[in-house]
Symmetry: C2
Subunit: 421 residues, 2 copies
């Protein structure tokens, strides 16, 4: 039996995801596919457009057999932590043979060569990095330059120095390199593969329609009607359309960051800059910048526009705002990290094949498996308990993004049934 | 020169207020009228329908000469503290000859007789109160019963025992008694008078139209249009209509508690019951009741409906929710009280006569006068500073109740000009 692992947000699950899934299964001859998926909040520092159970269902309907959750502190973290958590979860299942990710290169070799250098940090790379930083380059730019110097001098398998800038200039390559670093760090036996990302028009046995980015699709989602039309509709599998429309018609989305405008503004207006400083990513006096913007702005969009610069990117700011909203402090995040990240395998949904896979994971997995959250509230592991409480709280806040008051009650983390199809 | 003082919310200023003002001026032969008015939040535990500057302008347009502010911790407190703060402010001006309040009796004698007993608490009243409480009566019911017993045995000027239940059964009488108690407590030289409240149709030299309660008027305010029509329009002076419509058309109201639903629900979901316990009025395990209701409800209206009982009234709950929202803790409230309540005379607006009155108050007043808030942020009195900071924060939150993002910026406490007409 061969098992494929994917790390994803599926926000929402679209034709590009379907393409990636099918191509990955073909490439790895997988019998089973498991996804480590973000929960109710995602890496751009935003709430997901629909909740995690509905998104798990979209994944299952499209061919994923088992969906497990990336804890919220990591699902909303920078690429390095996000990747580490996703890989750690897949690795801890004890059954995954391959991880497949999308990349601009479509070739694992140059990515792996870079990951190898970044993971081991040989002395000559380190000294090159230091001297690049001393010239005033930003950290990412210094890394890129130092990699170039190192490869020029020492060579690297499957990678030529002039290629580095192009490889490192693509966001999915960067994330892929983080996956590869995490696999090395965990000394994982999982073999990584990559599928070239594409934005072409497809008509294959499994896909009719277009491939658009999740960002483009979210922009084209309806504001006042549950019906998905136009470009968004053409870019989604039928099952995703059905699930999205069902969520929207029940008043459970689309959820967006601006639904939390008032709460975040009130929160920051209440806080002293020193209190804001206690949250991840708030460095270099950013606390004053955030505080000032929250005072002078009437909406979160205005706040972000006001406070963001090339250095303080929109994503970085959004993540900080989310950490404030969800009360994920630096202290808590560091505590999670010092215990190796994710503490549990949280199951969001599975199909029949997934049920079989779960029976294998129960034997081979290296972390406790949580299927019913309610039964797990009092374990002997305080870090696990705290991580799960944070998840439950994140969901208590997430549901306040729904328009329909009936679904805005708290505690859904404990009452929502696992998704089975 | 004779100066009349009125304690009010003017939420909004309506024909009943105009009637009370004109009758009070006539009764006291006043040359000047000054109002101690609630700020952006009011005694029912709600935000005011429009902001305090617009409400000060309504008062000035209707004949008040000077509007000073009741600090937010007191403006949103129970009758006793609200009354104490209002009376203390008027007393500290050093120029007020009369306080006039509305009452159901329209006769000051029975109210003053009750206030006298409640203020002095003679031993036989106290023992009667204790034995009534021992029978399991609620505090207000026990007070009423004990007053009856005391008056039966000892008599009281202008009050017969059988009248007490009727007098104490009316909310404006109760508030009036609190004003009278506060005057006694402060050993004030101000002479109280009362005007009988009425709900009849009027056509007098100064009033055409109807008298409706502020509650009824607020219910009839428009939701989606700035135009005030129907019953609400008939119950308001023209100047109030103009000011309300101007605020509404600028997207600054009507502000209501449900505009803060998300923020309050998120806040309580984040808090532990022990943290909720730190706020005024949270006793007898109410923290668990509030927490539970915030978890199970999707809106603040649902929360209040769920958590309220005969004992835990809607007003009591709303006040608690406001204290949470505005971060007015029991510790802070007690600190304010232990320093005698209001620490300053905050001027919201005045006309030419009010300017003259202010010049007198500057000489005779017993509290610092604040006209420009910005200049007062660093006094030597830390309690004053804290009270003013709380006021500024309350306004930073209040403006998040506006629909128009342009007016939702913080710091308006420091930038808004005083109202002069």
């Amino acid at each position: 039996m061969r098992v494929l692992g994917i790390i994803a947000e599926y926000n929402p699950f679209h034709n590009g995801h379907l393409y990636h899934l099918k191509e990955s299964i073909a490439l790895t001859s997988a019998d089973y596919a498991v996804c480590a998926m973000s929960g109710n909040f995602v890496q751009r520092g935003e709430p997901a457009v629909i909740n995690k159970w509905a998104r798990a269902k979209m994944a299952l309907m499209a061919g994923i057999d088992l969906v497990v959750e990336i804890p919220v502190a990591y699902a909303t973290a920078s690429a390095e932590y996000f990747a580490h958590a996703g890989v750690k979860i897949l690795d801890s299942l004890g059954v995954v043979d391959n991880i497949s990710f999308g990349s601009e290169t479509g070739d694992i070799k140059p990515l792996d060569a870079i990951a190898e250098i970044l993971h081991h940090e040989p002395p000559s790379y380190k000294s090159a990095l230091k001297s690049c930083q001393d010239t005033g380059l930003s950290y990412p730019a210094a890394v890129q330059r130092a990699l170039g110097k190192y490869v020029e001098n020492h060579g690297a398998p499957g990678l030529r120095a002039p290629e580095i800038d192009q490889v490192m200039g693509c966001s999915n390559n960067i994330l892929g390199i983080e996956y590869l670093k995490a696999l090395k760090r965990l000394k994982s036996n999982i073999t990584p593969v990559t599928i070239k990302r594409t934005a072409n028009l497809y008509t294959t046995e499994y896909l009719t329609g277009e491939i658009s980015s999740a960002t483009a699709i979210r922009k084209n989602l309806p504001k006042d009607s549950p019906l998905i039309t136009g470009d968004a509709r053409h870019s989604l599998p039928g099952s995703s359309i059905e699930i999205l429309e069902n969520e929207f018609s029940n008043g459970r989305g689309p959820v967006s960051l601006d639904r939390f405008s008032d709460t975040i503004l009130a929160l920051i207006r209440k806080m002293m800059p020193e209190e804001i400083k206690a949250f991840p990513g708030v460095t270099e006096g950013l606390e004053n910048r955030v505080k000032k913007a929250a005072e002078s702005c009437g909406t979160i969009d205005m706040l972000i526009e006001k406070a963001s610069t090339r250095r303080y990117t929109v994503t970085r700011l959004q993540r900080i705002l989310l950490y404030l909203l969800l009360n994920i402090t630096s202290r808590e995040f560091l505590e999670f990290n010092s215990h190796g990240g994710p503490q549990y395998i949280r199951v969001l949904g599975f199909n029949e094949k997934g049920a079989f896979l779960l029976s294998k994971i129960k034997k081979r997995g290296s972390l406790p498996i949580i299927i019913k959250v309610a039964g797990f509230t009092r374990t002997n592991n305080p870090v696990l308990n705290k991580m799960l409480e944070r998840e439950a709280f994140a969901t208590d806040i997430y549901v306040l993004g729904y328009k329909n008051p009936e679904y805005r009650y708290a505690g859904q983390e404990f009452t929502q049934n696992i998704i089975r199809i």
